[in-house]
Symmetry: C2
Subunit: 198 residues, 2 copies
DNA sequence: TCTTAATTGACTGACGGTCGGTCAAAGGAG
DNA sequence: CTCCTTTGACCGACCGTCAGTCAATTAAGA
């Protein structure tokens, strides 16, 4: 018999090795030849692990998503007060180490997902959204129960995520001050949902 | 002198003629050769009026944006009550005559804007956002003054637009029920900002 | 007739994806 | 231990496609 490689692991390795390059020039201007050279494999090999060029971005986003879901859970479980937790939650993606680069790749992902009608993309995006929505809902729920915020706030779980996605997209299109927009929103929203302690 | 053509007009004509085709296959799968044939001009002529393939989507969106800004203003100026006006405002893009198709092109536009770092794109997107934000702000302002809603609602002008953009993107990625999401949001939000008539 | 804007489509270079073929490791038979 | 067979990983030359270019052509006004 011949060698059996860990397909999933190698897929991840190739994806990660091309990350730098991807950040520099974007998916549209990257060539598969470059990717294969960077990864130290032949061009044909790329297609053993990815069904097409865009699929590589897909893998990178999956990696990030795993990491972020974990960090978001930690924030949710922390003992901060809810307003601070929400700030950390919503700003995570703008504050993390190479946030600008991660965001760029995330935007590439959105762009691909918007233009390709691949079922896997849709399913993947759905599962991501669900996972994060659940974390956010749990977080708010616990503070509703402890009376920090109004029960109405739970209605805003999905809207908050749409808002966040909108901010990310808008920042990609028009260079808005994303963090500030998020902070403003949190202030305004809390003015409405906060239960005044008396 | 030779013929002087109305560049702006012809640009618009070419863009409109390719709209149907664009809806059917998307910008990625359309070829410039097809566009030129559909428009009844030579391939080279396309590049007299557009700097590249994506630029055509740009023009189509500009056309839609003009139309929509007008419709939004009409909604803003109507004498409905604010909640209904906001519904009309936010649902316009989902309810108009070929909304699904317009949305698809709009998503193509977002995808292009997210992946190409062209200054014009950014400026154009900025001016669109500003125009619409102003209409929305005026609309809310007038109802704050007449005491229908809390002054805090003005803080949500930008967030509402981010939310909308997020919904459009999410719908493109995961087929959510956009209209319902918008309606839910409006209900929840009004529960917070409505000034109870007494 | 001359000038010049407008138009054109053949051509080119680049690139995504394919496919026939090579190689090296892992049995297994003797 | 050695030689043969099998098999999966790996490769890169090749192909088809297509965006964008440009030299040639057209035709309207001066």
């Amino acid at each position: 018999m011949a060698i059996i490689v860990d397909k999933e692991k190698k897929r991840r390795e190739i994806a990660l090795s091309s990350r730098e390059l991807l950040l520099k020039v974007g998916i549209k201007n990257i060539t598969v030849a470059e990717i294969s050279k960077t990864a130290g494999v032949g061009k044909g090999t790329i297609y053993e692990y990815f069904s097409n060029k865009e699929d590589i971005v897909f893998e990178i986003i999956a990696i990030y998503m795993d990491e972020h879901a974990k960090e978001l859970s930690e924030i949710s479980d922390s003992s901060e007060e809810i307003k601070e937790k929400l700030k950390s939650f919503m700003l995570l993606v703008f504050n993390s180490e190479n946030s600008e680069q991660e965001l760029m790749i995330y935007r590439e992902f959105i762009a691909i997902a918007l233009t390709s009608r691949i079922k896997e993309m849709s399913d993947f995006a759905k599962s991501c959204k669900l996972k994060i929505a659940n974390i956010l809902r749990d977080m708010l729920q616990s503070h509703v129960q402890s009376g920090d915020i109004s029960a109405l706030s739970l209605e805003f779980v999905d809207p908050i995520l749409y808002f966040l996605k909108g901010v990310v997209v808008e920042q990609g299109m028009t260079q808005i001050e994303a963090k500030q927009e998020v902070l403003n929103f949190i202030e305004s929203w809390f003015a409405l949902i906060k239960v005044s302690k008396q």
